[in-house]
């Protein structure tokens, strides 16, 4: 299989990732009363800057997972990610790129007889399970602290605080998504000529940016469908989510922002009174997170066996 196939598939996957995951940041901005256009611009810019500045740090993930990879494994991994993301974007449900990529990559590697570093896989799975809980606790702490700090500020001052902080944090969220998630996608797409690496580094975030413009459904789901929002809960959950994703980028561990963010929002909504969350939507999210990981693993395993 030619490595040139990787580029269009990676670009398409990045595009659908933009459609699906940008809702996490764009949706938060919408819930804070900002315009959709501002959300798109900030998220798109964040993707591009994050991928270019820190995307290279995610190279260690691929090296940590397996001893090596064939082009067919990479193409299959990206193809499965692209198809699954297309389906879920159509439904309007945000899923994790990291889970899908890692799941299908391991499935395809096992089918090809390539040895998988299970201690690293365990570390990844453990971090995926633990992080939403860590995010929930940290978000509650940040929320409490922010509420206390702002208690002596005037209503106009509060409005100004949200006006400044929410767009900044939305940009930072998109930046960390670019660095961690698109960074991982970039490293999974690397094969062949080095000149193509630069092409990919520029084109992947741009493809995501175009995807952001089509992110209406997931944005609405995140902004209205899961939990009750207030600008302060959004501020706390996005801040903690982004810091966690950024921190794990530094040690090349791919993290799902959707899991961290929703974990934080659930935590803060359980703490706040009255509790406002949509149980059905939450259940749908959690089932989809586990489901897409297992599904991508199994599909990659079966398809790679059939291809060999």
């Amino acid at each position: 299989m030619s490595s040139i196939l990787l580029i269009p598939v990676a670009i398409y996957t990045s595009f659908v990732f933009g459609i699906n995951n940008s809702g996490l940041s764009t949706g938060s901005l919408l819930a804070s009363g900002f315009s959709y256009k501002k959300g798109i611009a900030l998220t798109g810019m964040g993707f591009v800057v994050g991928t270019i500045l820190e995307g290279w740090k995610m190279g260690g993930t691929i090296d940590g997972l397996t001893a090596g990879a064939t082009v067919s494994i990479l193409v299959l991994t990206l193809l499965i990610a692209g198809i699954i993301f297309s389906i879920f974007s159509f439904i309007g449900l945000p899923i994790s790129l990291v889970n899908v990529l890692v799941g299908s990559y391991i499935g395809a590697s096992i089918a090809s007889g390539i040895s998988v570093n299970y201690s690293y896989v365990n570390l990844l799975v453990l971090s995926w399970i633990a992080l939403p809980f860590v995010a929930a606790i940290a978000t509650i702490g940040t929320y409490k602290l922010t509420v206390r700090l702002l208690s002596n500020v005037s209503p106009v001052g509060i409005g100004r605080f949200h006006l400044i902080t929410v767009p900044m944090i939305v940009f930072y969220t998109a930046y960390t998504l670019g660095a961690n998630n698109i960074g991982l996608l970039y490293h999974l797409s690397l094969s062949g000529e080095e000149i193509l690496h630069f092409l990919l580094l520029g084109s992947l975030p741009i493809a995501s940016f175009f995807g952001v413009m089509k992110s209406g459904k997931t944005s609405i789901f995140v902004s209205e469908g899961v939990v009750g929002h207030s600008p302060l809960t959004i501020f706390a959950s996005l801040l903690i989510g982004s810091i966690l994703v950024w921190s794990f980028t530094q040690i090349a561990i791919p993290v799902s922002l959707s899991q961290v963010l929703i974990g934080g929002l659930i935590g803060v909504n359980l703490y706040r009174k009255p509790r406002a969350y949509n149980r059905k939507a939450l259940l749908k999210l959690i089932v989809s997170w586990v489901g897409v990981t297992v599904l991508s693993f199994l599909v990659a395993l079966i398809l790679q066996r059939l291809l060999l």
Binding site: V147, S151, P155, V156, G159, H162, I164
Partner: protein, 219 residues
């Protein structure tokens, strides 16, 4: 500019500018009732015209402000609340205009008018106008600490309650003398009392929205 420091002030300025015009119409309403009490009809008509003018001005400013607020991101998370509050503030001027018309459009016999516009009636009108003016103080305090704003909201509630007590007293007076008035005049004066009540009620409703805004912004 997204991060302009003037944005908050502008938002508050928009609200205060609109509320000031509304208060002008309420002040003129109070003056009009005062003029009617001394049977100075000419002066009362002038005040009625002024009420109309300020109500129209307030409507125009309201319309412009709605457009500006919908465009901006400041207080975006409570845009609907602010728009709802401005609608209520605007209704204060509408109520003042309607209440003025209730007294002016059909000439109430002078003897009845003097009897009706007793101290209770004048205090009721004054109290309603005071309630409306206290709302302006709430809006002007939006750049102060939360507790100061809450304190001013409580003043609005208190004044509205006092206006309610006066309203009931005035109704009692009206109905106790109903035999002396013709039916149409009783209905006309009842309408005047109800519409004047809307001035204080709308002011209180608008101040309640400020409480909602505080709850949303600080939690």
């Amino acid at each position: 500019m997204l991060f302009s420091k003037d944005k908050g002030r502008n938002m508050q300025d928009l609200l205060v500018e609109h509320a000031k015009l509304v208060m002008e119409s309420v002040d003129n309403f109070q003056n009009m009732v005062g003029a009617l009490r001394v049977l100075d009809l000419e002066k009362a008509r002038k005040f009625e015209c002024a009420i109309d003018k300020f109500e129209t001005d307030a409507d125009n400013v309201h319309r412009e402000n709605v457009t500006q607020i919908c465009k901006g991101s400041f207080f975006g998370y409570m845009r609907e609340d602010i728009l709802g509050m401005m609608e209520m503030v605007d209704s204060i001027a509408d109520s003042a205009k309607e209440a003025a018309r209730a007294l002016m459009w059909r000439k109430v016999p002078e003897q009845i008018l003097v009897k009706f516009l007793s101290d209770t009636a004048m205090n009721y009108v004054k109290q309603s106008a005071r309630t409306a003016r206290s709302l302006l103080a709430v809006l002007q305090s939006l750049n102060m600490k939360r507790d100061a704003v809450i304190e001013k909201v409580r003043v609005v509630e208190l004044l509205e309650e006092e206006a309610d007590v006066l309203k009931n007293k005035l109704f009692q007076e009206l109905y106790s003398k109903a035999d002396e008035y013709d039916t149409l005049t009783v209905l006309q004066l009842k309408e005047f009392i109800d519409l004047t009540d809307n001035i204080a009620d709308n002011a209180e409703d608008a101040s309640d929205v400020v409480l909602i805004m505080l709850a949303k912004g600080y939690s």
